[in-house]
Symmetry: C2
Subunit: 447 residues, 2 copies
């Protein structure tokens, strides 16, 4: 069996795809993906990782034509793509293509928003390129997942570079040959090791993917040649970086099904195993107008991983709070959310939070699914409230609503931009499809 | 058996190594490596690959503080490192660490010469960093070769990024922890596929390695964190990119043996299988003052690969000339060399060259080694000259002399720089060890 011309067929699809052929729900999901990504980038903008990266890169920036979201510094588009890719992933709060655990937006949106500051790009063009970039990235991921991930590759970095190259190549109007080369130049830069998890290098991966993919498209636009079979050749990406190669995942049904519809968004700023518990607490609080002093005790029944991974009884720091189901249940009942702010040191040390946290009990059972939880809240007035969460908010079965996403965005960005700017930025995001010039959104997002 | 702390031990050696501990022959080999690299970069400076890369990168350069060798454009140091790495490899004429077929200088020298234009670096510091960078790169290569290469990695790209990071990190004065991180940041950028051979991406690999290694050192200097076990961790470089991991190759005998002593230089601008034939022809010409009109016929006996790979009887273009042992023998007898110029279209089409080429006969025998050849030249005056080349010039058994390297340099650079500038540059190279400021060499090498 000969290998099909995978790279060329993917390139042909990317080049020939028309914006009007993208179904409305797909475009709307792209808007949601963009909003969520932008919020994460704003929320991560002041992270220490960003301070360090900016201080290292500042002296090498070309003419500052692109924005670093949530900050005052401006860079050339390649470095801006790198930096926005870092900030959008640094809180581990960005989107997830659950089938491959790729975080799709970081490499792609960081790449093309920076590009859109150097040339006029309409909202329609931008969303089209975002859809196609995510498509290329996730299909290539599908073809090699899970073997590729299992061996130790950080799949967001290794496939993100293809997504960025595809999206930027679309905006640059590459020919089929040039797009084939762009994917090849991306293939030969594909990198990022899982060993780096827990270090600043983890968020460097989507940033590097955004920058390297943008460079790939830029080089291809000038006819910098590459292999025509960068993905499928015996010494190409899929064979060298994976023991599994299912090329049908890349070439079948192009233009018929869209990977971005499988994208999901994290509602809470902590590990996904405690999301069902938090979700139930938020629902009970909002349905019954609960105050912390009303609550006598909280009983949670959840999947065994919850205590294994997040069983910290008395967290002392914000970071430890992320590994405490007890703290997470308490802040969810008190604040009705579990955003970055709820995992800061002062909140973890707040006596009211501690008081309620100590009244939370957790039992686990292997019969309860990972995205499921049962809650019982006993009130001081004798009432007993119950809540079954069959699927946590943020799962594909129960996606975050547009309103939820907007609330998440506000929580992430509220300390970075003043309220009127925030309102304006949210309005621009929801209306991006009709934007005449997407660069304006980037400029509205600087501090 | 637990894995030793490979990354940290290598980092500790790099950080603690003193220039005065480097033996004089090692330093002299570094000077030869540098001269050869600089000549190759000058010779490749006007290649189409460079024109394309420069046109793609020009608008994104930061303040132009570093030179592109052999050209007038200047770039920020990261982009200059990328471009000089491309030009030094684009003719496939650069140095080779025969044990791993790494081309060591491209990533390392391109990185630190650009760095040396942004801060004062003495010749002594520079050569020390060059030795250490080549050491890190080739030792890491030794640890994973040949499996790593066989699976499809272009080892000059994948290990070059470590060499560049190590050398730049040495010049930046990184601490042991920072050097450990620099190697980790290098590990997570390691990339480059052999599928790209035959395209512009091949020479992009050492360029990207130079740039990415420089960025790794720069980030580490600002305390951008990475894994402490980027090379040896279960999900680190050696396990993810290779099925062989011999860590003794990295940590044994550090400071006692030096990989740069295994570096070799190509004397002729064509595939290595015809080097013994060319070598013999050059020797006969020089020993006997031969002119083309003196020669009646040339008989060559060589290894079978010579006709398999370079058996083109009537080449029509410069490139085809590289695949013709007949053309190569003719130009070697006529010109006494086989540099880039001897493989240009006009030379291949020169009637005198064609006349002699057609009087060359080649026989092969599996009993003759690849680096060996037997020659017999019959002259019009009846004399018969013979020459046995047991090891071709450029092999480790018979390395190019300093004079040979200088002649190669001149041939590569003569059309790029005017003669007085060329003389001055060669003088600067041979005296680099006492240079007060190495950046001056880069500035002397611009067109």
């Amino acid at each position: 069996m000969t290998t099909p011309e995978v790279t060329r067929r993917l390139a042909a699809y990317l080049v020939n795809s028309k914006a009007e052929s993208i179904p409305a729900p797909v475009t709307h999901e792209a808007v949601r993906t963009f909003l969520n990504w932008l919020g994460c980038a704003l929320g991560g903008a002041r992270h220490e990782t960003m301070d360090v990266a900016i201080s290292a890169l500042q002296e090498f920036s070309g003419p500052p034509r692109a924005s670093v979201l949530g900050r005052a510094e401006r860079f050339d588009m390649l470095n801006a793509a790198l930096l926005n890719g870092i900030s959008s992933h640094v809180l581990d709060f960005d989107d997830t293509h659950l089938k491959t655990i790729i975080h799709p937006a970081g490499p792609v949106a960081s790449c093309i928003l920076a590009l859109a500051e150097t040339r006029p790009v309409t909202g329609r063009e931008f969303l089209h390129a975002l859809v196609l970039g995510v498509e290329a990235e996730c299909r290539i991921g599908n073809a090699v997942y899970p073997n590729h991930y299992d061996v130790g590759w950080h799949i967001t970095g290794t496939t993100g570079v293809f997504g960025a190259a595809a999206a930027a190549g679309k905006i640059l109007g590459l020919s089929e040959q040039q797009m084939t080369w762009a994917l090849g130049i991306a293939a030969t830069q594909s990198s990022g090791l899982r060993e780096m998890f827990g270090t600043m290098c983890k968020s460097f991966h989507p940033g590097a993917a955004a920058r390297n993919g943008l460079l790939a498209a830029q080089l291809a636009a000038k006819n910098f040649t590459s292999s025509d079979r960068g993905i499928e050749a015996p010494r190409g990406f899929a064979n060298v970086l994976s023991t599994k190669q299912d090329y049908r995942e890349i070439v079948d049904g192009l233009g018929e099904r869209f990977e971005i519809l499988l994208n999901s968004y994290k509602p809470f700023a902590c590990g996904i195993v405690i999301h069902p518990t938090i979700d139930g607490c938020v629902q009970l609080r909002n349905e019954h107008g609960l105050k912390p002093e009303d609550v006598e005790a909280v009983f949670v029944r959840a999947h065994p991983l919850v205590l294994e991974l997040t069983g910290k009884r008395t967290p002392q720091t914000g970071l430890e709070g992320k590994f405490s189901v007890f703290h997470s249940a308490a802040v969810a009942l008190i604040e009705g959310k579990a955003a970055e702010h709820e995992y800061t040191d002062p909140v973890v040390r707040d006596p009211v939070v501690i008081g309620l946290r100590d009244r939370v009990e957790v039992e686990t059972s292997p019969e309860i699914r990972e995205d499921e939880a049962y809650l019982e809240v006993r009130l001081r007035d004798g009432r007993v409230l119950q809540k079954h969460v069959p699927h946590a908010i943020g799962s594909l079965e129960r996606p975050m609503s547009d309103q939820d996403l907007e609330a998440k965005f506000r929580a992430l960005a509220e300390n970075v931009l003043p309220p009127p700017r925030l309102d304006e930025l949210i309005r621009l995001c929801w209306n991006i499809e009709t934007a005449r010039e997407v660069g304006a959104i980037a400029r509205a997002a600087v501090a």
